[in-house]
């Protein structure tokens, strides 16, 4: 397997593109400061920069906060003039929501900036939703001794996407993740290219979404999944032939059972041309595929793609209804290589709130259901299950693999790496104020391609390191050993710490 020899891309620092990064603490220096420069020398995290009148705490998002007081480099204590104040950042409480609390956002930004897990006291593992992933923990055996240094180096994180045993090529990705579809039009070309280039650097894939295949992507054909969705926007035989994986999107978790909607404002001439539509007029993707009302119809779809591109793998993206297990089995028998289950709490694009909250089930329920059903059918090892819709962190990724997925597909996490703050206003006015989900020229220019690419590489490099750490603690040599291991997980509502041997993480 070539992925074992895959050379992972390097980490380079990619600090916030805004003047003031958002952190948990705010460091201020009062007028008592004599500019002695001690704080600049003391802080190992680079919070301070020398200034003309007094140092500037320009990177206070890297500050450890009051918990630093146990260190001998604690600036507040050591400052001869006691001129340094470390206080909670007042804006922090406004950030985020129950699924992505401020700490998870800031922790993710830290990973995207540095490529390492946060040293600050930020919970970068779970959110605060009170259920599902946020109540599930790994049961890690107690640490015995120091462990041999470098023992984690040979832990494999690669997965094989074609497990069908057919004559089509094997496609191995060195990390158990790929990036989900966000169409050109819903996000800017810089966002799209940043994701594609990061996927290429990580040896994995990025999906085009339903909005065509901009020519800028053509250098990365081998790392692109092109999507065929209900509107068939921008779908051509020529684009289907370019790629190694073609994805049918039957439904998406953000709006299960409903079609997509691109507001007229976002349909610029370029977007319109790509989608063969009229600029300025809103575009609806119908729901469902009006040519598919049965598994037999679905098979016809899959056969059609397989005929056009003899080498491509076929992925089927579905949402999570009550009978999601039947849908998955049907997809397998129709000849799909990959079934992607998109849980109801994820999604990036604009969707009715009622759909996001209420329609279809969260991925934490759907994935185990499907995994067990396919096991019972005896076909689990012939198909790749990819989980998406609400995977926010390396821990979510590892948990859902332990619950039966082979790998995961991400979208929101990428956007957070690009400094999305989840204000939920992607759809309004000129689009995203942060220049991520927009086609407005000025807003698009808020982000540089190199920076965007590196931020995503950094974040997933940190994710991979966390996955390796978890696997190492569990004594596993490959991520494939983790699949379906419910026994290494605990749900805090049903298991108490006393009942568990080992520590909960």
């Amino acid at each position: 397997m070539t992925a074992n020899h895959f050379h992972f891309p390097g980490i380079k620092k990619a600090p916030s593109r805004f003047r003031n990064a958002l952190g948990k603490y705010r460091v201020t220096i009062t007028k008592a400061c004599t500019n002695c420069g001690l704080c600049v020398d003391l802080c190992p995290y680079g919070v301070y920069r020398a200034g003309a009148k007094r140092p500037k705490a320009s990177c206070d998002h890297l500050c450890l906060g009051p918990s630093c007081s146990k260190n001998d480099f604690y600036c507040t204590e050591r400052c001869p003039e006691k001129a340094i104040r470390i206080l909670p950042n007042p804006s922090f409480e406004v950030l985020g929501d129950r699924r992505w609390p401020a700490e998870l956002l800031a922790g993710t930004w830290h990973m995207a900036e540095t490529g390492t897990v946060p040293h600050q006291d930020l919970n970068y593992k779970t959110g605060n939703s009170g259920g599902g992933f946020d109540k599930i923990r790994f049961i890690l055996p107690k640490k015995n001794g120091n462990g041999s240094p470098g023992a984690n180096e040979n832990i494999a994180t690669a997965i094989e996407l074609n497990r069908s045993g057919d004559i089509r090529p094997r496609v191995t990705i060195p990390v158990p993740l790929y990036l989900g579809g966000m169409s050109f039009g819903s996000v800017s070309i810089v966002t799209m290219l940043s994701r594609v280039r990061a996927a290429a650097a990580l040896g994995t894939f990025c999906c085009t979404g339903e909005g065509g295949y901009p020519e800028e992507l053509m250098d990365y054909d081998d790392h692109i999944i092109t999507q065929v969705a209900t509107g068939l926007f921008g779908v051509r035989e020529e684009t289907i032939r370019r790629v190694r994986i073609v994805e049918f999107k039957y439904a998406q978790g953000a709006k299960p059972g409903l079609g997509g909607h691109l507001l007229g404002d976002k349909v610029t001439p370029r977007v319109a041309q790509m989608r063969e539509a009229v600029a300025g007029s809103a575009l609806f993707s119908p729901f469902p595929f009006h040519s598919v009302y049965s598994v037999e119809d679905h098979k016809k779809h899959v056969d059609w793609i397989k005929e056009i591109n003899k080498k491509a793998l076929v992925s089927v993206k579905v949402s999570t209804p009550t009978d999601v297990d039947m849908v998955a089995v049907g997809s397998y028998y129709a000849g799909a290589h990959i079934v992607q289950l998109d849980g109801s709490y994820g999604g990036t694009g604009a969707a009715p709130d009622i759909a996001k909250k209420n329609i279809a089930m969260p991925i934490e329920y759907a994935l185990p259901k499907v995994h067990r059903f396919l096991l019972a059918e005896g076909i689990r090892d012939r198909i790749t299950i990819i989980a998406s819709g609400g995977i926010r962190s390396a821990y979510d990724m590892a948990k859902i693999i332990a619950m039966g997925a082979d790998g995961v597909c991400l979208g929101t996490a990428d956007l957070v790496a690009l400094e999305c703050i989840r204000c939920h206003h992607c759809e309004s006015g000129r689009g995203c104020a942060r220049g991520i989900a927009t086609t407005d020229g000025e807003l698009t220019n808020l982000m540089e391609l190199e920076w965007g690419t590196q931020r995503i590489i950094n974040m997933y490099s940190a994710w991979r390191a966390q996955l390796v750490h978890i696997l190492g603690r569990l004594g596993m040599r490959s991520v494939t050993e983790l699949v379906g291991r419910f026994d290494v997980l605990a749900h805090l509502d049903y298991i108490k710490q006393e009942e568990v041997e080992g520590e909960l993480d």
């Binding site: 129950r98 699924r99 009550t322 419910f486």
Partner: protein, 460 residues
């Protein structure tokens, strides 16, 4: 096919500034008076809209801010910060949350359904209605595209008793009498309010709204006065006084009347029907552990419509109260079990706060719902309950213009109707009638937790 049901909406501006979740807090101290203040870069033009001099850094709580944090992150001296708005947190209570109230305001103002990007941001699940999800269809079952009007989804329901079979006389003539049935195009009636500022303007807003929507508003018999009397065809009179004072002429202008459950509501039903046979009689029943047996008894005695009500938090009476969704399931399944469910109409009410509750309660067995507080919230009520204490309403609801009020109600109901279509469409169901009791097309927290998480942490 009947003509498509469509609710006209139009922008109905708020009378008061919106209370939003967060505001901008700016400190003047240390301002560099930038030549090019970051405030000028606001893509929503919040600062310009408010006519603030950008050289001044005034404290401001702003309702136009969209939380993009650009100014917070770009001010050279880090003088701009955001903070939570205490007035927002103070809205409503644990059940009627600030989120619910502000979404109701948005819908009442615009008639549009709440839409947002970046996935769902709320809790995984919660008590009551938040412990269930609705189904969708893909590949193996078609959906319906109701929301963009390409396929018609009916939300009409019937109120009244149904004959289960026709009886024929010796000559083949039909001898059974079909009981009267009233159709409403939306599975919603307007209920009496648990508390409200006094006066006619609020009930008039409800009645105007009922008229525009084709539904009915329940009005207390004791509240009828010459102004309300003009609107009796859109009202359901709740008999809270002497039934003898409701004369035949007045009854004939009604389609539905509601009587309280008491010693013998059936006798009262018979009395009204003898005066006006086409009248549908609803019996109002407080939900309780005994509701299943009481419902069964009343149906056997000939009840047509049972209006099962919980309190404003969706709770039944008693010391260990069940939530309305649970008790509704219980009553519905009991009646199904006894083979009488299809004969009657069940209307559920109490604690219905969002469009999704409508779909969910119907799935749990109700044919239709009654709503109360959301209608008041549509008119900018803040659920402060001061009126209950006799203190004046902070948004002057006693003086509300009924035309404006009814427009807000219409907008809210239009948004709820559209959201019901979203749920029905995703499930592939063409009629609200078919949604009733479809518990197999819903997913319940308790079941899923047991099925999925029970085996975690266990070997083998």
């Amino acid at each position: 096919m009947p003509p498509k049901y469509h609710i006209e909406t139009s922008q109905a501006p708020n009378r008061f500034p919106k209370i939003t979740r967060s505001g901008i807090i700016a400190w003047e101290e240390g301002c560099l008076k930038c030549a090019r203040c970051v405030k000028k870069d606001c893509i929503y033009q919040v600062y310009e809209k408010r006519d603030l001099d950008d050289r001044q850094m005034l404290d401001s709580l702003d309702s136009a801010c969209m939380d993009c944090f650009r100014c917070v992150q770009n001010c050279p001296n880090r003088l701009i910060h955001k903070g939570l708005n205490p007035a927002y947190r103070a809205l409503g209570d644990h059940y009627w949350t600030p989120e619910i109230i502000s979404e109701l305001w948005f819908q009442a103002e615009s008639g549009r359904i709440p839409v947002s990007g970046a996935g769902y941001g709320g809790p995984f699940s919660g008590p009551g209605f938040d412990a269930m999800w609705t189904d969708m269809s893909e590949i193996v079952r078609p959906t319906r595209d109701g929301i963009h009007g390409r396929e018609y989804i009916s939300t009409t329901v019937d109120i009244g008793r149904k004959a289960m079979a026709l009886e024929f006389g010796p000559g083949g003539e039909i001898v059974s009498r079909t009981p009267p049935v009233v159709e409403i195009p939306l599975p919603v009636i307007f209920d009496m309010l648990p508390w409200a500022p006094p006066g006619d303007n609020i009930p008039l807003s409800f009645l105007y709204g009922a008229l525009a929507l084709g539904t009915f508003a329940i009005v207390r018999q004791s509240a009828i006065n010459p102004i309300i009397r003009e609107f009796l065809p859109y009202a359901i009179i709740y008999v809270d006084g002497d039934p003898g004072s409701l004369h035949a002429q007045m009854l004939r202008s009604l389609k539905i009347i509601e009587v309280p459950d008491g010693e013998d509501p059936i006798a009262l039903q018979k009395r009204f029907k003898s005066m006006h046979p086409e009248l549908v009689v609803m019996i109002r029943l407080r939900l309780s552990p005994g509701a299943r047996e009481r419902s069964l008894y009343l149906i056997e005695q000939g009840a047509e419509v049972l209006h099962l009500v919980a309190d404003e938090y969706g709770l039944e009476g008693g010391s260990d109260p069940l939530f309305i969704k649970e008790r509704m399931k219980d009553v519905h399944l009991h009646l199904v079990d006894r083979g009488v469910r299809d004969q009657v109409t069940l209307i559920g009410g109490g604690g219905i706060a969002m469009a999704e509750h409508m779909a969910k309660l119907i799935i749990c067995g109700a044919d239709a719902l009654s709503i109360d507080i959301p209608l008041l919230v549509s008119m900018e009520c803040r659920v402060c309950r001061r009126c209950k204490e006799g203190i004046s309403c902070p948004v002057g609801l006693d003086d509300v213009d009924p035309l404006w009020g009814s427009l807000r109600i219409r907008n809210l109901m239009a948004a709820w109707h559209s959201q019901l279509l979203e749920i029905l469409g995703a499930m592939g169901i063409r009629e609200a009638r078919r949604l009733r009791g479809e518990m197999g097309r819903a997913m319940f927290f308790e079941d899923l937790e047991k099925e999925i998480f029970a085996t975690m942490g266990k070997r083998g």
